[in-house]
Structure formats: C-alpha cells, structure tokens
C-alpha cells in the first residue's frame, strides 16, 4: 500500500521537532531515512507508528491513518524501535511470537498460520538457529536481529524500522538489508532509518534526507547523496565508486570550516 505523508509536523515539549515533511513511499520500495543525530528521524517514525500526536495528514492507501485505531494500526504498520528492550528472559521463539499479537484474538493460542509467520520471520533474520536460546543472553547484534524478526512476524503492509542495522557485524548488516529488500519485493512498504551511508547508498531504492526536522531532499541515492549535500547535511566528505550493484559510498573526513574539503 502506498504510504503518503503530507505536510507532517510534530511538536515535542513545545519545540517543533519535525515540520512540513511530505513524502510518498510506494509499495515495493525500501526508503532510507537519513540525517544527522537530532534531525527528527526517530520522531517522524514514532509519529508514523502512532506513538506521537502529529499535525498534517498520513494516509496508507485510501485510509487516513488519523482515523485508524491502535489495534487496527498494528495490522497495518509494524514498528521496530531504536531502543532494544527485552524485559524478561524469554526464549527467542516466544519473543518473535509476540509479533503475532495483533492477529490473535484474546486468549487464543498461536495458529498454524502464526507459527508459519514466526518461522519465516526467524529465517529471514537468520535467527532460526537461536530459536530455543534465551534472548537476554544473546549478543547485542543477535538481539537486534531477534527483535527485527518480531516486527517482520507482524506481517504488515508497512514496516518502519529505526536503525535496525546499528551494532550489527558486516555480514548481518547485509542480512538485515537483504531481508528488508525481500520484504519490499513481496510488495511491502519499507521505511528504514540508517546512519551508515554505505548501507543506505547500496540498499535503498530511495533516500529521504532530514535536516533540522525538515526534509532536505528525497529521491534515488545517486541524486541525493551528492558531495555538496553530504557536506551540507552531515559536514563530511565521502569517497565514491560504482560497481554492478550500484553506488559505493564511504565517508572520509570532516568538511573544513570554510565548507571546503
């Protein structure tokens, strides 16, 4: 389903944190939300996930998200928070199964369909081998993948993931991005915030770049991640190369005070 964000603003503690952001995300696309710390990425994502009040309009397909209730929203948008919280010594499988809560009527145990969704999600995040382990005893990167599997198991048309790749080793960063890619290929709409410019350039179909709560630019990585914009938004220079897979971008140094490398 097409996710349309239209002139969204979020005010936190009297301060406008996000203002005037408009963005349309087509199904089948992985859109990377970029921007320096404090640019408003997480705030925008939380508003999208129904956790913060916002002004403006958000629509999923024909549906206005402002009119969608909490329970219904959970069947439309899965949200993976940046903070990785695991409250109890749960087994990995039981934790991933929490992603099925929006689909399970009160008091009903998991159905065969739920179990299949859980298996798919665990396979996608490469945590099947960890299924019987205690989640709190895993490494940080393993926990990140387990929590991501929870959001994937929700099997919603939209997935909003806040920095899912941070703290992962290179192989699992790629696993994570491949999984998002595959979800998009299944026709879902994926919005993912990233700090890693290399991953963003490589794996996202589109980049939306936030700066000071406003949308600085949006479009394909090649046209958005220009030297001038990286200097402007992040204050860094980058080395770039190309191969069959697309753009390879690596941040190199800080931009000098005069704006020159």
């Amino acid at each position: 389903m097409r996710l349309a964000i239209d002139d969204i603003g979020v005010v936190l503690g009297g301060r406008p944190v996000v203002s005037g952001v408009s963005l349309a995300i087509e199904p089948g696309r992985v859109v990377g939300l970029l921007g320096p710390n404090g640019a408003g990425k997480s705030t925008l994502m939380r508003a999208l996930a129904g956790q913060l009040p916002f002004i403006g309009r958000m629509a999923l397909g024909p549906q206005d998200l402002a009119t969608v209730g909490t329970a219904e929203r959970a069947r439309l948008i899965a949200y993976l928070p940046q903070t990785r919280t695991i409250g109890w010594r749960l087994k990995v499988r039981d934790l991933v199964a929490l992603g099925r809560l929006p689909w399970r009527p009160f008091g009903r145990p998991a159905s065969a369909g739920d179990r299949a969704a859980i298996d798919r999600a665990m396979a996608m995040m490469d945590v099947t081998a960890l299924a019987e382990r205690i989640a709190t005893e895993l490494s940080g990167g393993e926990q990140a993948r387990v929590l991501a599997a929870r959001a994937v198991a929700q099997e919603t048309p939209v997935l909003v993931a806040d920095e899912p790749a941070s703290g992962l080793d290179p192989a699992h960063q790629i696993t994570m991005m491949q999984a998002l890619r595959r979800l998009a290929d299944e026709g879902r709409t994926v919005l993912v915030s990233l700090h890693d410019l290399t991953l963003a350039a490589r794996w996202c179909d589109e980049i939306a770049m936030l700066m000071d709560g406003a949308l600085a630019a949006a479009g394909p990585p090649e046209t958005i991640l220009t030297d001038a914009r990286l200097a402007d938004v992040y204050g860094v220079t980058a080395h770039r190369a190309h191969d069959a897979g697309g753009l390879i971008l690596a941040p190199v140094d800080l931009v000098g005070r005069d704006g020159r490398p």
């Binding site: 996930a49 129904g50 909490t70 929203r73 919280t85 809560l101 929006p102």
Partner: protein, 329 residues
C-alpha cells in the same frame, strides 16, 4: 514445566492447603466431626466452628492469597520490574489509612462493615488520584512515583492517627489490625470482599496481552496494538479492587505478592501473562499455609499471619536474590 501441569499442580496444592486450613484450629475437632460440621450435620458446636469460623477464614485465605500473588505478577509484568509488588501503587497503604481512620473515629465498633468500608474508601481514593494523574501525564513512571508518594503520605497520616489516638488500647488495636490477620473473620467479610476481588481478577486477566507486549517496552507494545491508557486503567483498577478488598478484611499482608511471582517465574516460559494464574494459585497456597502455620506455631496466642509472611518472606527473598542474581528476570 508445561502450563497445564504447573497450574494443575498448584491448584491441587492450594486446594489441599485449603482443606488443611479447615482442619486446623484451637478447637480440637476430629476429622469426622469437621467434615460433618461443615456439611451441616453433626453436633451444634462443630457446625458453628466449621461454618462460621474456619470456612470463612479458609475462603479468605484462598481469595486474598490469590489476589496478592496475581497482583504482584501483573505489576511486575506491567512495570518490567521484578521488584514491583502490590503495595507499590499505594493501594495497601491508603486502604490501611482508611481503616485506621475508622478505628480512630470510634465507628469500628458500630457495625461489621464500617472497617472494611473505610479501607475500601481509602483504596478507591488512591485509584482516583492515580488515574487522574495517569490520564493527565500518561506515563508509567509518573504512576509509580505517585504511588510511592501516596504510600508515604498514607504512612505518615497513619502514624499521625496513632500519635493522636486517645488511649494506648486504641493504638494497640490499630497496630494489631495493621499487622494483618485472617482470624475471626465471618462469612459477611467473605461476601463483602470476594466479589470485589473477583472483579479485580477479571480486569487483571484482561491485561494479559498487554503485559506480554510490554516485555518489548512501551513503544513496541503500542505498535503491537496495545492501548497504554486502557492497560494502565485495567491494571490500576484491577490491583486496587483485589488488593484493596483484601486489605479491607485482613489488614496488610506483605511479601506474598513479591515472592510468589519470583518463585514461579522460572517454571513458566517467562511471558508475563503465563505467570498470572500460577502466581494467583501459588499466592493462595502460600497464604493458606502461612495462616495454618500461624495457628499451629503458637496455639495459645496465635501469630498474625502478616507477621509470619514477612518473617519468612524477607529472608527467603534475600536468599533468592543471593542465589540467582541473573535468574531474577
């Protein structure tokens, strides 16, 4: 342990202790006399002892123990904190204050119902204050801090009442009540408290999904379709009803709500909702056992069961902490 086996075993344990509680007491009744007394046959005295003294006591032990265990389990799950216990939201303290105020005013002697009514009024005052604060601020941390503040204030006011109490005997009566006991309770107490507790259990049970989702934190829980405002209401109202009613008829009985969820959590899959029923049954078993023990240890004087649970519970909890710091969650 499989949930069915665990709940079955705890249910059988609680029922056995319920029966034991019916058979224990200062009156020296033989087993046959007890049973026939309970079932309305037998001698006059045995019937009165069984139906009007021991049965209400055992029923209250069962229901109050269930309430305390259940309330402890739901609060620990809700707050993702293994140190949470029924007293944490301030309901026990305000209920106790309500009862103490009734003692002080001298109304306690006028009717059987004035004392529990005062305690219930205290518990409901706490709930109204907490929900008013929660609806305006909307954060769980605010709720807990408000609960702690309410507890402190109620504790201070209770001390003030003791300070001002007209004579030592009145003060003694208040302190004795605060220690918590199931002694000399009647079927009227059961009829007053058990329906309120049952309503509380129902509200708590309805929050089962929410506390599971909250294992992942509030943000993730909301994204799983959990309405935080509704969840706070269910849990605060449910705990207040069950623990408020329990305090109203039995005074403050500590440690059951803290210890029982800890004891049983390792036997479950550790999802907070999986712990609710076992913690309730375990709480019932523990309170019935403690109440029977209180009658057996000092047959003449009789210990207050609240003293006994704290006396056993606190060192036990310490041992639990020392033994398995990592296993706490």
């Amino acid at each position: 342990m499989r949930p069915l086996a665990l709940n079955g075993a705890l249910g059988v344990l609680a029922l056995s202790l319920f029966v034991l509680s019916l058979l224990v007491g200062p009156a020296d009744l033989r087993l046959g006399e007890s049973v026939s007394g309970l079932l309305a046959g037998g001698s006059e005295a045995a019937g009165i002892i069984m139906r009007e003294i021991r049965l209400p006591r055992a029923l209250l032990g069962l229901a109050i123990g269930f309430s305390l265990g259940l309330a402890g389990a739901v609060l620990q799950g809700f707050l993702r904190n293994p140190l949470a216990e029924p007293g944490i939201i301030g309901v026990s303290a305000t209920a106790a204050l309500g009862a103490v105020a009734i003692f002080y005013s001298g109304l306690a002697g006028t009717s059987l119902y004035t004392l529990p009514a005062g305690a219930l009024a205290g518990a409901f005052a706490a709930v109204l204050i907490l929900l008013a604060i929660a609806s305006r601020q909307g954060s769980t941390l605010t709720l807990i801090l408000a609960g702690v503040a309410l507890s402190s204030l109620s504790g201070a006011l209770t001390s003030l009442v003791l300070n001002l109490s007209p004579n030592p005997f009145a003060a003694y009566e208040i302190i004795f009540w605060l220690l918590g006991s199931l002694k000399d309770r009647s079927m009227e107490h059961v009829a007053l408290a058990v329906p309120l507790m049952a309503l509380g259990w129902l509200l708590i049970a309805l929050s089962g999904r929410a506390i599971d989702a909250l294992s992942l934190g509030e943000d993730a829980a909301q994204s799983l379709g959990i309405h935080m405002g509704r969840t706070r209401f269910l849990i605060v109202a449910g705990v207040a009803l069950s623990v408020g009613a329990a305090t109203a008829v039995a005074g403050t009985i500590g440690f059951i709500g803290l210890v029982v969820p800890h004891l049983l959590r390792p036997l479950t899959d550790r999802l907070p909702s999986s712990l609710l029923l076992p913690a309730g049954l375990g709480g019932a078993a523990l309170l019935l056992a403690a109440d029977s023990a209180a009658r057996l240890i000092l047959p003449a004087g009789e210990l207050n069961v609240g003293v006994l649970t704290a006396l056993i519970g606190a060192p036990f909890f310490l041992w639990l902490v020392m033994r398995a710091r990592r296993e706490m969650l």
